[in-house]
């Protein structure tokens, strides 16, 4: 005899009334009977359903039991019973109320998730509060102070000299390279070269191998799980050989992927001491260079500021230049939100965004709560008669309050359930907008659910108290005759205050969104001074390709679809560096100025206008050593009178060797932006690439707007003709530029969504409130009509009350939004002028939308036949 599975027996017991063993016996007997003509599985399945059918019996018998036992339970039971009936009776208000609250709660939860994720950055490292990054502040003369996340390779030995043993340092170099596994090539952008102390500073989660061994051996590297799967699939990666940029390494450790909440990413970690020959000589000889990031972990009692000062002193002693650099330590948990230095490893988040989002989340939650309170109270006040009768029957103040609270809680719970579903559905979209990968497990939902229930519980207590307070204060006679006056006195009631508050907050959100939209559009559309469309940026990647540059260039120029070719030492979409000292005639000291090394045709390819003089030209061979081109800002910076033809003495640096470059200025180009409008245009000197300058790093190719895929394909083919070790890699310049605006884009998207949400919530509340008010004023409307009021006049009278509030809210909200936006704009180097228009627009739109949501019900009320409405009792 096969017995039913244990879980099925349990299910049956749970579903059937307590203390009825005979039912369980019946069930087991039935089960055995069924097995005779059915498979086990089919029987189990059908009895799963049958078990549920016992629920009704359980409910009925429990109900009868309750009736005979505890009165408190009966009371609570009736609270919810009446609550359910109220919900069903007022379908419109109930659904508006539940929907509004659910939307508000979901929005609140989603933003909280975003903020939580942002705040969690780098906290996953063990003892993350003791890990710091050593950043340098380099004074370049004039207003040129560069705060850099990278410092020299030589900082670490200097620092170690002055510190006790309670501090562990490690240097990091974030690289990209070509990885070769057997015959396959991969471009890896997340390679990290580190000192052997790396894992002492950053605790990693190793799957195999041990952090003690990795990085000691100059050939020993560690890779993450994803990379391991990518390269070796199922085979054991340990001990496998990997070729990176033509150097062979051995995998001695595998670690779990770094969480996305890390300010840097590392898929392959290799020892710095194994790759020293990759570095140009200046890296290891030049204290002023900025090539490596230095991190350290310090014991709790170490005075970090003094440590930085000590390092500053030690470095200062060896410093060659006049102005010594300053050093400061950044806690790594602070980097993602609060650091915006030169050479930042990835695109960091921003504290402003996080703060704005937090405030927005709270505002949306507040709006939803106000809605909920307003609607619930309005509907509840209609129940004077019920309260009156209960009073007559002897119900106390507490039990009546409890009734309202139970109802509010019931509604709140519905909203919580709905909101959890909304969150489930909306998470993928939210991830897309915010560029996050938030995944919620069952546990997270339980936690969120608990928090939401707590919020709703508190709300329910508040919501239940209001109507009870009003209705209980009134005399029984007033309760029963329904003579409480809801409107008519022009007193500014609590409800008026809440409606105004809603629209006040909505006005701030919408006004701000409009201004931010303007600013973002302004930045996107402002002429950068260069034409970034259809420009392809290709890194040389290795010196062997740079050596063939001239050949590649001439082939490219003959290729159909290619308009122009040039190259430069820096990626044109990055912030510029390469500070060199310059001296004009009659100047005592050098003035520091960033320098960009370029190839012929640079300004033509980038679409930069020449204001004076000429561009670099092949007809003048002297251009290589005796010519500079500067931008307008530099002309002002050096204080030239005629500019073109003036002498400028500077230096050239190959990466290993300095030489003097005394030259004349041959041209002045119009100011144009590197990177984004976040930064002001700096005085910049352009020098033609030659033997004495640092090598070109980026090829810049302008292609025609037609047949882009074909052109790219032939670029790829050409590239492969020159090298087999390096896959073709390129970026579009306009895409790269757009990345700089990611933070604003994100802010804008989320804010737009939430300002829409806020006005939606406001209108939902207004819609519900008017519907309710109209019902209360049916008689008044009827009498007015009988006395000759027109439909138009009636709508005016009915809308007036609410529109007045909306107008008031906007009048107060506009200056607040104006002030907020003034502060926000102050962070931008180039900003739009702040006018009153966005705020006027907001007010007009707010009034209009409010009017539309009111007019549906007022129109309906105005059109009813007065005969019906006057005798509606």
């Amino acid at each position: 005899m096969r017995q039913p599975p244990v879980w099925l027996v349990k299910l049956f017991t749970v579903c059937s009334p307590d203390g009825r063993d005979d039912l369980l016996g019946d069930f087991i007997e039935h089960f055995q009977d069924d097995l005779e003509y059915r498979s086990y599985r089919a029987t189990v399945w059908s009895w799963t359903l049958y078990s549920m059918s016992m629920l009704k019996l359980k409910i009925i018998s429990n109900h009868n039991k309750v009736n005979n036992s505890n009165t408190t339970i009966i009371m609570i039971y009736t609270y919810f019973k009446i609550g359910r009936r109220q919900l069903v009776k007022n379908k419109l208000y109930s659904s508006i109320n539940v929907l509004g609250l659910a939307v508000g709660l979901s929005a609140f939860v989603l933003i909280s998730l975003f903020v939580y994720d942002e705040v969690q950055y780098d906290k996953h490292f063990p003892e993350s509060d003791q890990i710091y990054r050593l950043a340098g502040s380099y004074d370049q003369g004039g207003d040129g102070i560069v705060e850099s996340a990278f410092t020299s390779y030589l900082i670490l030995p200097a620092a170690e000299l002055v510190t006790s043993e309670e501090v562990t340092y490690t240097r990091l170099d974030f690289r990209s390279g070509v990885v070769k596994i057997v015959d396959e090539l991969f471009i890896e952008n997340e390679i990290l070269a580190a000192d052997s102390t790396f894992f002492d500073v950053f605790g990693f989660d190793f799957v195999s191998g041990s952090p003690e061994k990795v990085l000691r051996d100059p050939k020993g590297i560690a890779i993450d799980l994803t990379t391991s799967k990518k390269y070796f699939d199922q085979t054991d990666p340990m001990g496998q050989l990997i070729e990176i940029d033509e150097k062979t390494f051995q995998v001695v450790g595998v670690f779990n992927d770094l969480p996305s909440t890390t300010h840097f990413q590392a898929r392959i970690i290799l020892p710095i001491h194994g790759i020293m020959d990759w570095y140009a000589p200046w890296v290891t000889t030049n204290l002023t260079g900025t090539s490596h990031a230095t991190y350290f972990k310090a014991a709790k009692h170490v005075d970090i500021e003094r440590l930085a000062t000590n390092i500053e002193k030690a470095v200062g002693e060896k410093w060659i230049g006049e102005v010594k650099p300053k050093f400061f330590a950044q806690p790594i948990t602070d980097i993602h939100l609060n650091s915006d230095l030169a050479n930042e490893v990835g695109i960091n988040g921003s504290q402003t965004t996080v703060t704005t989002f937090t405030i927005t989340a709270l505002i949306v939650l507040l709006l939803a709560c106000i809605n909920y309170v307003n609607l619930s109270v309005a509907v509840a006040l209609d129940r004077g008669k019920e309260v009156g009768i209960k009073k007559v029957l002897g119900a106390g103040r507490r039990s009546q309050t409890l009734q309202f609270q139970a109802e509010a809680f019931l509604m709140g719970m519905l909203a919580v359930v709905l909101s959890l579903i909304m969150i489930l559905v909306a998470t993928p979209f939210f991830n897309q907008i915010t560029d996050k990968s938030i995944l919620l497990g069952l546990q997270d939902y339980l936690l969120i659910g608990t928090v939401l229930i707590a919020i709703v519980f508190v709300l329910a207590i508040a919501v239940g108290t209001f109507p009870a307070l009003f209705l209980l204060k009134d005399s029984i006679k007033d309760n029963l005759s329904g003579s409480r006056n809801f409107r008519g006195s022009s007193k500014f009631t609590l409800r008026d205050l809440m409606v105004s508050l809603q629209f006040f907050l909505a006005a701030i959100l919408i006004g701000s969104t409009l201004v931010i939209t303007q600013q973002v559009r302004f930045m996107r559309n402002k002429d950068l001074g260069v034409d970034s469309e259809h420009v392809v940026l290709i890194p040389f990647g290795a010196s062997e390709i740079f050596e063939k540059y001239e050949v590649i260039k001439s082939e490219l120029q003959n290729m159909p679809g290619v308009v122009a070719v040039t190259a430069s030492s820096v990626k044109p979409t990055n912030r510029i560096g390469g500070w060199r000292g310059y001296k004009t005639d009659g100047m005592e000291e050098d003035m520091s100025c960033p320098t960009v090394v370029v190839d012929h045709n640079y300004f033509e390819t980038m679409g930069v206008r020449i204001n004076e003089g000429r561009t670099f030209s092949k007809t003048y061979t002297s251009d290589y050593t005796e010519s500079y081109i500067i931008n307008e800002a530099a002309a002002k910076f050096f204080g030239f009178e005629n500019t073109v033809g003036e002498k400028l003495a500077g230096y050239a640096f190959t990466g290993a060797q300095w030489s003097e470059k005394n030259a004349r200025i041959v041209g002045v180009v119009e100011d144009f932006h590197f990177a984004s409008l976040h930064n002001k245009i700096r005085p910049t000197v352009f020098s033609l690439s030659s033997e004495i300058t640092i090598p070109l790093n980026w090829m810049i190719v302008r292609i025609s707007g037609q047949q882009i895929p074909e052109t790219l394909a032939s670029l790829d083919e050409l590239w492969r003709g020159f090298t087999s070790d390096r896959p073709f890699y390129f970026e579009f310049m306009d895409d790269e530029l757009a990345e700089h605006y990611q933070a604003e884009d994100q802010l804008l998207k989320v804010l737009s969504a939430f300002s829409l949400l806020s006005i939606f919530l406001g209108c939902l509340g207004l819609f519900g409130l008017t519907a309710f008010m109209m019902r209360r004023r049916t008689k008044e409307i009827g009498i007015r009509k009988v006395l000759g009021a027109s439909n138009k006049g009636l709508i005016g009278i009915l809308s007036k009350d609410f529109l007045r509030l909306v107008l008031l809210a906007n009048i107060i909200g506009a200056p607040v939004a104006f002030w907020l936006m003034k502060n926000w704009l102050a962070d931008f180097a180039y900003q739009i002028p702040l006018s009153a228009w966005p705020f006027i627009l907001t007010a007009v739109a707010g009034l209009l939308i409010a009017f539309v949501s009111i007019s549906y019900h007022s129109l309906k009320a105005a059109q009813t036949n007065p005969v019906d409405s006057i005798m509606y009792e």
């Binding site: 005899m1 017995q3 063993d21 005979d22 039912l23 369980l24 016996g25 019946d26 069930f27 087991i28 007997e29 039935h30 055995q32 009977d33 049958y50 549920m52 059918s53 016992m54 629920l55 009704k56 019996l57 009925i60 018998s61 009868n64």
Partner: protein
């Protein structure tokens, strides 16, 4: 005719089946009997809800019986129709029969079975 309570069709069937089964009327037997005799599916929940209600109304009485191995050592609950239950059944039959008797000759053209 004023009555305190009118039993429903399903309840009538359940009570009659209990009578049919005499002293062997417990859950499984009642359900099987209805399914076999009337070829009609009855869910366990529906049956026991009915039994519970009828017992609450005093139309049925029940006693716990012996436990068998097939039932996992659980007792059977045997039902009997009380006197007031029997009165109800009789009332139903009487009213039906009086109606049948009042049908004029030739209106019902099918012949009754058995």
């Amino acid at each position: 005719m004023s009555r305190r309570y009118q039993i429903g069709e399903f309840e009538e069937i359940v009570m009659l089946t209990i009578c049919v089964l005499a002293d062997q009327a417990y859950g499984v037997a009642i359900r099987d009997e209805i399914e076999v005799r009337l070829s009609r599916k009855v869910s366990m929940g529906a049956l026991h809800t009915g039994l519970y209600r009828l017992e609450q109304k005093g139309l049925l009485a029940s006693t716990l019986g012996e436990a068998t191995k097939k039932r996992g050592g659980k007792p059977k609950r045997f039902y009997t129709v009380t006197i007031s239950g029997q009165n109800e059944l009789k009332d139903v039959m009487d009213s039906r029969q009086s109606l049948w008797r009042s049908i004029p000759e030739g209106v019902i053209q099918v012949s009754p079975t058995g």
